[in-house]
Symmetry: C2
Subunit: 880 residues, 2 copies
């Protein structure tokens, strides 16, 4: 096993063993770019070190010494050399960029003797400045000595001597060194005099930093395996801080915000890299370099473009100038804003550097989110007062007046105000208030709580689980720490960060431009999975189509019963005391539902639309307060005590596992029949207008094949009656949700009775884990903190559990009906990682909230491309 690679021995493809930084240094060396010579210790050496109880092996030490000798030969310098002392930098560099690890030690090789020679070779101020930087960095990263000790010491000396560091004499610098040595001693440490010892300790420190707390947290957060290890890069120092003909800078080959094809970056003369990053001095725009050192700028621009062409992507380059000589210290693919990412990817295709497929793979689907929602103006955010932070449940940015009830939201908005609905948690009754609000904030609930799901569906900005807020609905106040806000006060809510600010902040729209539409077009060409939307309101349906949804995978009907008049009829139905009353309520609801479906079909036209029949338990439609009950009793001409009794009788211990979904279809078939009549009548009406609509009715919560058969039969009977009455027929389909574990296990039997399947992954995940979305907030924090859940299974499909059940279902169903249409309409239908899994699973479409449609379209394209390349196919064959 080779543990150490000279830069001239590696290349870009060796990231796994040399780390990103090391591989790119080698690649640049190989390309002939001016790179200060050096070598890289491999990631494997790191893991070996960690496994052996943190011991540098003899073999590794030998290889390091050998590489160092070669370096000394190449540079004509040497460690501790009285004439030409060698100074090096030591940098960590894993295969994935990891900010949690130890980063850099500069000027390694200096000690009390060497610094004197360096002072002779350059000047004392420079030499001692280098030395004190080494002492500071080494003390901090190798020995964990609090860095502020050093800073405070420097401040003290400056005050004491009445002058700035830059003006210190050699004797005064000696005082600095003595003081720093004392700080080491106070911490029970001694700075190693021998450069070789410095190097070995620095290498060990980099290795150790792989397992420090921050690095572990970062890896967990980004799902980077723990057994990769980090490489260490040892490189000859070049000094950007050796005078006014020296300098250092960072540049992007294209603008990382706009994507414009022009060098973009900053530099400082007479400075080391950390000075640029630290922001103590204000750097100059890279263009200025053309004025200061025109020839060098041209060289830099030419080489930067060469790098971009070589890497076939926008590069983020670090460089140093030492006495008018240019050195490249790092290159990597540059991070960029979503808008720039799109533009750059498309430009690269147009420039012939990459293929369309590569362009599609270059865009992280989630980043599209930012292009679809408004955001706050950055300057105003900087100055705003942060009130609290919750979960970023639905992106967007909005300002409005606080209201605590749906009624108040409706009242204020109809008076032309903008409101933020702030509640402990929302329920289906709040829907009308939610629709009119600019943003929704709840003090409880997670990313998949009612508020979050509904808000995402509507594209409304939403922050949930903001536990710092204590809502007092009765007093119409909200408390946050010491602060108490009244109804009507202004808040600004950022649904992309979860942050809530006091007062009003300005917003701006991100524009979807040609680039966006072109990329989406490429995505649709590449994808196999179709992308549908979960939508039922006029707004949502229009948004979904505008965002390119191929159809509607889930139109929920429960929200349709919450309008004031409809709710009364629904309640009349539920509380009915006679057959006449039941019939009257059903007749009234039928009229409403006909309108609903007619309007929906007018928008969706001949596109596929799956309508889910009523799902929630009846008690969700009933009032809770005495006041409402009294009013209802009046409206229905019933006894209020009798109503209360019925409401109590309908309460459930676990409504999620209760009398809902098709269980209503079994006990009260007349509701589904009313819905079926409304759907078919609307479709027949539109047929007369020449529209060919094939209604698709979906029955939720099926566990038993006989349930499906029975409920389906009742629906079919009604449809036949509608046909008989109108003397016309239409093709139609009746399918089922697959959202209970049992449904997956008997999918073959269900497939025989269903025209299509749609996985309801929200409920399926709840049942598979035994998690209630509404209650998970009480322990999910601990679960994430302790690493039990590496991901939220309501956001990204749980492949080992839920995914295994889905696989069983797909395999069993396709055994019976090879062409059965199978979709996924849960929350994870819009999640890129999940979509890659669904591609492999072989479902036909995913359905997600309208605002996630573009993300899902891109993810579907990526899923197919990777699937064809067999790059992520190991997972699914293993799960069951």
């Amino acid at each position: 096993m080779k543990r150490v690679y000279n830069f001239s021995e590696g290349r870009a493809g060796m990231k796994d063993i040399l780390g990103g930084k090391g591989a790119n240094l080698a690649e640049m060396t190989r390309l002939g770019l001016p790179v200060p010579p050096g070598f890289t210790i491999t990631t494997a050496a790191c893991m070996d070190y960690l496994k052996r109880g943190r011991q540098l092996t003899d073999e590794l030490q030998k290889e390091i010494r050998q590489a160092l000798q070669e370096l000394e030969l190449a540079t004509q310098k040497a460690f501790n050399d009285p004439e030409q002392p060698l100074l090096v930098s030591v940098r960590s560099g894993a295969a994935f960029s990891m900010p949690g690890m130890m980063d850099t030690i500069l000027n390694l090789g200096l000690n009390d003797q060497v610094v004197k020679r360096l002072a002779q070779l350059t000047d004392p101020a420079f030499a001692y400045d280098c030395y004190r930087r080494l002492l500071q960095m080494f003390g901090d990263v190798v020995y964990g000595i609090d860095k502020t000790c050093f800073d405070r010491c420097l401040d003290r000396l400056e005050k004491q001597l009445g002058k700035q560091l830059a003006d210190f004499s050699e004797a005064e610098w000696q005082q600095v060194i003595t003081a720093f040595t004392a700080i080491y001693a106070e911490n029970g440490k001694r700075f190693p005099e021998t450069p070789m010892q410095q190097l070995e300790e620095a290498v060990a420190a980099v290795f150790n930093s792989w397992n420090n707390h921050r690095a572990k947290v970062y890896r967990q957060l980004h799902q980077i395996p723990d057994d990769l290890g980090t490489a260490v890069n040892i490189q000859t120092m070049v000094f950007g801080n050796s005078g006014e003909k020296s300098g250092t800078g960072v540049a992007f080959t294209r603008n990382p915000t706009t994507g414009e094809k022009r060098l973009f970056g900053e530099f400082l003369l007479n400075a080391q890299g950390e000075d640029v990053v630290a922001g103590i001095r204000t750097p100059l725009a890279i263009g200025k370099l053309a004025e200061v050192m025109p020839a060098l700028y041209d060289q830099f621009a030419t080489l930067a473009e060469l790098l971009e062409t070589h890497y076939r992507d926008m590069q983020d380059v670090e460089f140093t100038i030492e006495n008018e000589k240019l050195y490249f210290l790092q290159t990597r693919n540059g991070k960029r804003a979503p808008k720039a990412a799109l533009k750059i990817a498309i430009q690269l295709v147009q420039e012939g550097l990459i293929t369309k497929e590569e362009a599609l793979l270059r865009i992280a689907p989630q980043t599209l989110d930012q292009l679809l929602h408004p955001i706050f103006v950055e300057d105003e955010v900087q100055q705003a007062i942060l009130l609290a932070k919750g979960l970023p449940a639905s992106p967007g940015a909005a300002t409005g007046k606080i209201v605590f009830t749906a009624e108040k939201a409706k009242a204020l908005t109809s008076a032309g105000e903008q409101v933020i609905l702030l509640r402990q948690e929302t329920s289906p009754e709040d829907i009308e208030g939610m629709v009119v609000s600019e943003a929704i904030v709840t003090s409880r609930g997670g990313m998949t709580s009612h508020a979050a799901v509904v808000a995402r569906g509507m594209g409304t900005c939403c922050v949930t689980g903001c536990e710092a807020l204590t809502v007092n609905e009765a007093e119409r106040t909200v408390r946050c720490g010491e602060r108490i806000l009244q109804e009507g006060e202004l808040l600004s809510v950022d649904g992309s960060t979860g942050k809530i600010y006091l007062g009003r902040l300005g917003t701006k729209l991100t524009e979807r431009d040609q680039d966006f539409h072109l990329l989406m077009q490429w995505a649709d060409e590449a994808a196999q999975l179709k992308v549908h939307a979960n939508a039922e309101t006029v707004n949502d349906l229009k948004t979904a189509l505008a965002f390119g949804a191929d159809g509607v995978g889930l139109a929920r009907t429960e929200h349709m019963f919450f309008g004031e008049k409809r709710l009364l009829e629904m309640r009349r139905l539920i509380l009915s005391e006679s057959e006449q009353e039941t019939a009257a309520a059903l007749a009234a609801l039928l009229v409403f539902q006909k309108e609903d479906f007619y309007r929906m079909y007018q928008i969706t036209g001949e596109k596929r639309m799956v309508i889910r029949l009523l799902d929630p338990p009846m008690h969700e439609f009933l009032p809770h307060t005495q006041e409402e009950i009294t009013q209802l009793a009046k409206d229905l001409n019933q006894d209020s005590r009798a109503i209360k009794k019925k409401i109590n009788a309908l309460q459930e211990s676990n409504p999620m596992l209760g009398h809902r979904g098709c269980r209503l279809g079994v006990t009260a078939p007349e509701i589904y029949q009313m819905q079926a009549e409304a759907i078919m009548t609307s479709a027949l009406q539109l047929a007369e207008a020449g529209m060919t609509i094939t209604p698709k009715l979906m029955i939720p919560l099926i566990a038993e094949p006989k349930e499906l058969e029975l409920v389906k039969q009742a629906v079919v009977d009604k449809i036949q009656a509608v046909f008989a009455k109108s003397d016309q027929t239409l093709a139609y389909e009746i399918g089922t949700m697959i959202e209970l574990p049992r449904a997956c296990l008997v999918a073959d039997q269900l497939a025989a009775a269903a025209d299509f399947f749609s996985f309801g992954t929200n409920d399926l995940t709840q049942m598979t884990y035994g998690f209630s979305r509404d209650d998970i907030g009480k322990f999910v924090g601990s679960y994430e903190e302790k690493g039990i859940l590496s991901q939220d299974p309501f956001q990204t499909v749980d492949q080992a559990g839920v995914g295994a059940l889905m696989k069983i279902a797909v395999v069993k169903a396709r055994q019976v009906k090879p062409d059965l249409s199978i979709g996924v309409c849960g929350e994870v239908g819009g999640d890129p990682r999940s979509i890659a899994f669904f591609q492999e699973l072989g479902v036909d479409y995913v359905s997600c909230s309208p605002y996630r449609v573009p993300i899902a379209r891109l993810a579907a394209a990526q899923g197919k491309i990777l699937y064809d390349r067999k790059e992520n196919c190991a997972s699914i064959s293993r799960i069951i």
Copy 2:
């Protein structure tokens, strides 16, 4: 296809095509017993008829006529013959005994002419009585004419003529016939004059009765397939009602209540079979026959014993005597009380007629229930008010509210009440009400009446022929002497003595006799699956061991925190405001728990006992009423509003899916650690007393392998601390419940971290179906009624869904740990049908409530015997 078999052509093994009755008539004919000649139409002919839209095919009609000709030849009589008219009975007879179907039409072949010839041959009173019976039965079962019309008509005529039916003149009988003919006409029907037409219509009516409502309900209840069909038996009439030298009776070859080896039965002179069953006249004990007709009695006794030996089981025989000549009309294996079933099975083994295995298979495990369930406490019986005494038809003791109809019984029991069904006599229509009643009481009928037979079959306590009671179903009262009881009043019924008491009596356990212990011993020898008990209280643990539990498969710890002092400490822990308070509460609970486990181990000794760590959500321990909260605030010296707030904060929308089980172990590891400390400390103490206890701790509600690892580690850490402190160690095991679908799907990963598995089928069923047991009541009635659920999945394991997950879990776990101990500790662990499945699945033990242990032991034996015979193995290989 042969559609009709002469009795001389069939045999006992042809039940599938001839039905039970037909096959046994053929067998008796073959054995040379005196059986009136006849023939049987096959079950296949029935299914053929039903499939062809209820048409008797030409082929079938031809075969019937042919068989009839042979019968006419054999009997020297003929249909409509002016000299020797042939009369036949028509009886249904499926492969399984089915009280829901049409049963019998007697005297078929009579009409206005034939009755006159019969009057000449016998006497007019007899002949016309036969005819009016035919008209009544035929009208009822073939044309569905309300039978009470005929009865009321007879009453009216008796009054009008001022004499009893028996004393009617021939002319007066003519009036009866005329009146009955009018009743037919009122119902738009005409009695068919031609005997052949009578026969064909009767055959069609029997066929149709296979699909009547009661028959369907009965099949569903007993899980008899719908596609078997019924056979029809046509047999020459013999007349038990042709005078005082004639008679009819029913007898068992052994006592069906005690198992005593002696003829047991009843007979009536000058009567037809229906008179015995209907319970209108009270019959005589069979022994009396020896006095009345000694020779005939001897013949009967000899032949009955021959039948028993031939069938190798106790027989239930129907016979008729016509003019001192004995005829056998039916034999079948007799239904018997559980105590008798045990005794008879053991006697038959001892008599060398059957093997031990056969004996084990002869006992339906559920019937042991009666031997295990309590009898009335003697003292209370002494002081109780005896209301009445009837026949001890089916043993047991039960208290409940009086109901008079099956409907009311169903309504009250579904509301959670216990009821006693009190009727004049029962009929097959009452079956659904009988199933749900605690006891059945009839004012008429003998030990072989419908009520008695059905109740014994179900193991339900029953008293028949309690003639002191006068039931008024219309007014919903029962009169007993001067006393009038209303519906809803409490009665206590002792089925072993026939006594009925007012009010509620306390019960206690019966003693189980030698027969019981011998059978259990045979069962344990035959079984492979071990049977453990779910128990944790001193009483339950003792009961479990007394009933032969091999260990404790599930000791729940949550009940241990509900004692007054413990509850306060638990509440202190949950509501703690400081670390000191938490520590104090834990310390207090530790003391209690040490006592708990010490006491439990003292009882169970070295037997295996699995202790499940705390499972329910915290809010279950908190008070609800303002009063309790105020008191608690005082006790804990906290603010009551603060407590209320915390209680509210702990509320959950779906507690079943909430913060419970191992999720508590993750967020509050100190509770499990306290329990672990208590368990290990107790075990170490008992170790000093020389007991070798291997504590088994079980962690509930695991969904993720990392959950198990984490919670286990916390427990292990505490156990190591206990060992360190006491300077002693012990072997111990930590296992997990498998009760979430996800746990089954990742069972391989869980197996790696667990010492044992225990399936929690209750929760697993809830999650797999998405059913909450607490809420299922709102729709499960509809589900059963509509045949969606053929069985309650909480009582009998759902093989296709839950079973499939269990199979996945067992296969995956055993791949990793072939010897992993796997048990089942849910409700179904004590269900015989489920146990057969678990035998196949290859789990090691089941665990059930103490009272079900003997049932489970027998079921385990049967499961193994049938498994070895490969008699029920098709199911499991198919499910996934």
